[in-house]
C-alpha cells in the first residue's frame, strides 16, 4: 500500500514548508478552493472516512452538519490532545509533517464555512507545539493563511491552543470548554458542537490523523480512497503497537489487517506468550482472538472497539487484574469529576480491583463490577465514564479464574 499518512515523515527537514511544497504540498488546497464547498464535502463523504480519534464518526457527515448551520462565525478545531494510553500516532504527524494536517484544516474550514481554525495540542508535546507554531507562520508567509488565500476570496487564520494536562480534554466538548477558559468537563449532547460549539457557534472538531487523510482524498478523489482498506472501513490507519511486543511503533497499514498480522508481521511478535490485547487503548475491551480483523465493524462485532487503534499487547506473565486496576486508576485520575456515576464508579472500581490485586477480593464484587460497568455505560455523560469499566468487565468475562483465585478465603 502506498503511504498516505507517513509519506513525508522520513524526509530530512520534513516539517519545513519548502520540503512540503516540493513534494506537491498545498496543491490539494488549490484544488479545493476551485471547487464549491459542498463539492469538497461530497468528496469526503464518498471516501467513507471516519474519525481517527476514537469515536469513528463519518467526517463528511460531520462537516455537512456544520456547513448546514447558518450561525456565524463558525470554527474548525484540530484535536491534537492525544492522550489515550497506547496512542502516539498524532505526535508523528505533528512533529514531522505538520503541513499535511494544516493544509487539511484550511480545506475543512473552507468546506464548512469557517474563517478561524484552531489546533489544540496537549501541553506535554513541547517540541510538537514549537513545530506546529512555526509551520503556521510559514503557511502565513506563503499566503496559504490570511486574507484572500490564493485569490479565492476565502480568508482563514489558525491559532494554536495548548492543553494543560487533562486527558478528558480530548473529548470534543471538554476541549471546547477548555478553550473557553473553563474546567474541561464535557457537556451534554445534544446540542452537538456542529450546532453549538466554541462560544456557542457551529464548530467541527477533527483529529490530527483524520485530517491527514484529507489532502489525498481531494487530490485523488473520494472514490479512490474508498477502495483502500476494507469496504466498511476504508482508508489507511496509523496503528500504534505497544506493550509487551518486540517492535513497538507506529505502522501505517490498511484497515482490515488482522491482529495476528500486525503483531507478528510488523510487531516482531509478542514478547513472551500471548495472553490478550487491547485494540483501542484502555477505553476498549480485551480481546484474545488474534484472527480479529482490525477495522471498526469487525472489532465491534468481536465485542471491543478499535477507537484510535492503540494496540496494547499483554503477555501471559502479566496479571490481568493488575491490567484492569491500572486502567481504572487511569480513568479515576482523569475523570473530570462532574458526573457522580463516573467519579464514584471509578472510585469504587479502583478499590475493588485493589482488593483483588492484593489477594483480598470479595466474590460478590465480581458481579457488582459487571453491573457497575453497565450502569456507567448507561448513564455517564461522556465516553470516558462510559468506557471506564470496559477493561475490568472484559477481564472478568475472559479471565474469571484469575479473579476467583484472588478471592479471600
Amino acid at each position: 500500500m502506498e503511504k498516505i499518512l507517513t509519506q513525508n515523515i522520513d524526509k530530512p527537514n520534513s516539517q519545513d514548508i519548502k520540503v512540503y511544497l516540493d513534494g506537491g504540498g498545498y496543491k490539494a488546497l488549490e484544488k479545493a478552493l476551485s471547487m464549491k464547498p459542498e463539492e469538497v464535502i461530497a468528496e469526503v463523504q464518498k471516501s467513507g472516512l471516519v474519525g481517527r480519534g476514537g469515536a469513528a464518526f463519518p467526517v463528511g457527515l460531520k462537516w455537512s452538519f456544520t456547513r448546514r448551520e447558518h450561525t456565524e462565525p463558525k470554527f474548525i478545531i484540530c484535536n491534537a490532545d492525544e492522550g489515550e494510553p497506547g496512542t502516539f500516532k498524532d505526535r508523528i504527524i505533528l512533529k514531522n509533517d505538520p503541513h499535511l494536517f494544516l493544509e487539511a484544516l484550511i480545506i475543512g474550514g473552507y468546506a464548512i464555512g469557517a474563517s478561524q481554525g484552531f489546533v489544540y495540542i496537549r501541553g506535554e508535546y513541547y517540541r510538537e507545539i514549537e513545530v506546529v507554531e512555526k509551520a503556521v507562520e510559514q503557511a502565513k508567509e506563503k499566503g496559504y493563511l490570511g486574507d484572500n488565500i490564493l485569490g479565492s476570496g476565502f480568508s482563514f487564520t489558525i491559532q494554536v491552543y495548548k492543553g494543560a494536562g487533562a486527558y478528558v480534554c480530548g473529548e470534543e466538548t471538554a476541549l471546547i470548554e477548555s478553550m473557553e477558559g473553563n474546567r474541561g468537563a464535557p457537556d451534554c449532547r445534544p446540542p452537538f458542537p456542529a450546532q453549538s460549539g466554541f462560544l456557542g457557534k457551529p464548530t467541527a472538531v477533527n483529529n490530527v490523523e483524520t485530517l491527514a487523510n484529507i489532502t489525498a482524498i481531494i487530490t485523488k478523489g473520494g472514490d479512490w480512497y474508498s477502495k483502500i482498506g476494507s469496504p466498511d472501513s476504508p482508508g489507511p490507519k496509523l496503528f500504534c503497537l505497544s506493550g509487551q511486543v518486540n517492535k513497538p511503533g507506529v505502522y501505517e497499514l490498511p484497515l482490515g489487517i488482522t491482529l495476528r498480522e500486525l503483531i507478528e508481521n510488523y510487531g516482531g511478535g509478542v514478547r513472551g506468550e500471548f495472553k490478550a490485547v487491547l485494540p483501542g487503548g484502555v477505553s476498549s475491551s480485551l480481546l484474545t482472538d488474534l484472527n480479529v480483523k482490525l477495522d471498526y465493524k469487525s472489532v465491534a462485532k468481536a465485542g471491543s472497539m478499535l477507537g484510535s487503534a492503540a494496540v496494547i499487547v499483554i503477555n501471559k506473565d502479566t496479571s490481568i487484574i493488575d491490567v484492569a486496576k491500572n486502567t481504572v486508576e487511569f480513568f479515576a485520575h482523569e475523570s473530570c469529576g462532574k458526573c457522580s456515576i463516573c467519579r464514584e464508579g471509578t472510585r469504587r472500581g479502583r478499590e475493588i480491583l485493589s482488593r483483588f490485586a492484593n489477594g483480598g477480593g470479595r466474590a460478590e464484587e465480581l458481579d457488582l463490577m459487571l453491573e457497575l460497568g453497565e450502569v456507567m455505560y448507561d448513564t455517564a455523560c461522556c465516553g470516558l465514564g462510559q468506557a471506564a469499566m470496559n477493561v475490568p468487565v472484559s477481564a472478568i468475562t475472559l479471565f474469571r479464574d484469575e479473579f476467583d483465585q484472588k478471592v479471600r478465603k
Binding site: P85, A164, G165, G181, G184, S242, P248
Partner: protein, 155 residues
Amino acid sequence: MSTTSWKTEVDEVIKRRRKSKEALLPCLEAIQEVSSYIPQEAVSYLRENLDVPSIDIYGVITFYGMLTTKEQGKYAIRLCNSLPCDLNSSKEMLKVIEEELDIKAGEISSDKKFTLEVVPCLGLCDKAPAMMINDKIYENLTEETAKKIIAELKG
C-alpha cells in the same frame, strides 16, 4: 521569579488574545512557564484583568495536571505509569528514582531541586518506560540510565 516577569507575559497574551475568558488558559500557561507555579497575586491580577472570579481561576488551575499554585522544584520529573509503560517496568523505574531522590511520588525534595510525579500517558508508549523532566523526554529507561540521569541533574 519576580512579579514583573509573569505580568509582562500575561499582558502579552491578553494583547494577542483579547481580554476575555478564552485568554485564561493561555495566561495561566504563560505564568507557569515563567514562574514554574502560579502565585496568588497572579490569580488576583487575572481576576482584575479578565473579570473572572478568583474561585473560577483556582478551579481551572486545580483541574489541569500541568498547572499548580504550589512552588515546584527546579526539575519537575514526570514518570508515566499508564498501561504500556506499566507493562514495561515503569513501577521499577519509580522505585529507583524514589530511592535516588529519597522522596515519594507527589513530593518535593528537601533542597527544592526535584519534584516527582507519576503521570498518565505521555504518548511515548513505543519507547516505554518513559518520563519527562521539565520539557525534555527520556525514553527506553533502564535502572542504569534512570540512575545516571538523576545523578547528572543532582550535579
